[in-house]
Symmetry: C2
Subunit: 291 residues, 2 copies
């Protein structure tokens, strides 16, 4: 009954005897608890967040629904393991185009161990996290029935420059994502734009982050997803923004999460630019898998 999720684009993935999340056919997502402190920290976050009455409903909807924890046979066959039971964000989608954006120029909590800080700082400096305030952790873009999804290898994504990120954010809403010609951004207005589009949702999140001082989200991702076929038919694209990965959430102690907010504003700016100038492609040539 449990199977490997089809639309996971980043993080540990099940399959080939590896430990990773599973989904069922009723819309639930089972995420194995990481054995170190991260597992228990993520449970603690979801438990506290789901009972936190100060979170307004229009913000709560950005978070996966939490159904508790459950002991399950692990995907790597290592026996029973506790899993977080969460909403399967891709459940209502047929061919979701999905982008996982890890927010923040700093992915580490100042209170973490020195080893962990140095590891994160190195990765932040090697990726676009430092210059851009966020990095793309993975994505898939649905092309069509014949070609299916463009879902590049993690190594390619980790090597993205700022210009690559700019380009991929255009390709994400283009009918020709894998073409060598300029991305046409033909879905930009329906996916990124509009009163229920991705930009509007990011701006709602931004307003909350300008104000809330109770939670700091280190190494947390914004997921952007939409259904290309719906967009093609001119229907609402079902564009959704969600937040995931809360193993490094820390207490805000009365200070805003300026690190997350700064990165979020940077993402908002790039998305806005695509809406204002969908035709103006700053980068020539395609971004392709290495041959």
């Amino acid at each position: 009954m449990l199977k490997i999720p089809s639309h996971q684009v980043a993080g540990h993935q099940a399959g080939d005897g590896m430990l990773g999340p599973l989904v069922d056919d009723s819309g639930r997502f089972y995420k194995p608890l990481q054995s170190d402190a991260r597992g228990s920290q993520e449970v603690a976050f979801y438990t506290s967040f789901s009972s936190n009455t100060r979170i307004p409903d229009h913000i709560r909807r950005f978070f996966p629904i939490f159904y508790g924890t459950q002991l399950l046979e692990a995907s790597d066959g290592s026996g029973l393991l506790p899993h977080l039971v969460l909403q399967d964000l891709a459940f209502n989608f047929v061919h979701p185009s999905v982008m996982d954006v890890k927010i923040g120029s700093r992915t580490w909590n100042p209170l973490a161990s020195e080893d962990y800080i140095q590891k994160c700082l190195k990765k932040d400096r090697e990726t676009t996290s430092l210059p851009l305030g966020f990095r793309i952790a993975g994505f898939q873009i649905y092309e069509n029935k014949e070609s299916g999804f463009w879902k590049p290898d993690r190594k390619l994504v980790m090597g993205f420059t700022v210009d690559d990120v700019r380009s991929v954010l255009r390709k994400f809403v283009s009918s020709n994502p894998c073409s060598d010609s300029d991305p046409d951004c033909s879905f930009a207005s329906i996916v990124y734009g509009g009163s229920t589009g991705i930009l509007a949702q990011l701006l709602e999140l931004k307003a909350w982050f300008e104000d809330q001082t109770t939670l700091h989200f280190y190494s947390c991702s914004v997921i952007m997803m939409y259904e290309k076929e719906a967009a093609l038919e001119g229907r609402t694209s079902g564009a959704e923004v969600k937040l995931v990965d809360f193993a490094h959430v820390a207490e805000g102690k009365g200070v805003i999460d300026h690190n997350f907010l700064g990165g979020l504003c940077s993402l908002i700016k790039l998305v806005s630019e695509i809406l204002t100038s969908p035709d103006e492609c700053p980068i020539k040539g395609g971004l392709r898998e290495p041959e």
Copy 2:
């Protein structure tokens, strides 16, 4: 004719044979060029900024007027040295209360030398820059004719915790800044509040930083200043926000300055909180010089 500025609260200071800025009696501020790359970088910034037609006037007014460079007898007696000639920001004030806030959780440009980065990172981690997104670099608060200014030692300021910063931002607009009792925040509404107050000015800057992608301001300070006697008489306090210290400005390359913006939003949040709850002092007891 040139003299040591009376109201400088941070940075290298002239006097006792040390090299530092000087002022004249016509409203000009002479800042000696640092001998390393920083000096020429700051000249390059002012030169380019003053001729940059894309800077709107309501933003330009946050920057000191630039009058070029001039060879002057250095304050340490070391002979002729090139100086930046700038507007003396304190010129029209009698007893200015001044706060120098170095903005950004990261004071280093990713392209700087590894030694410099490590030095800055260490200081960012030791001060409130990392948790708060900014640190107070120095301040003076005018008390009254008898006591004059409270201008703490640099060492005290560098040791500030997040709670100390919160407290000093209250004391800055209080009639009892040096008292052991809670700061009364009696000037908060006239200095921080209102359509021309400090909060309104910070919000104008924020709107610009959400949009501009040409300049990144590392290790740059927001100066907040006002005239207490004017505030006491219920006149406009002459509250002003200025930006200073541009030795580490870098090209934005099409990306917003998310590091500066995040820190600025954090400062805005703390100032807003003082306006919404001027009576609610989170910290008991006074913050005094060590005996």
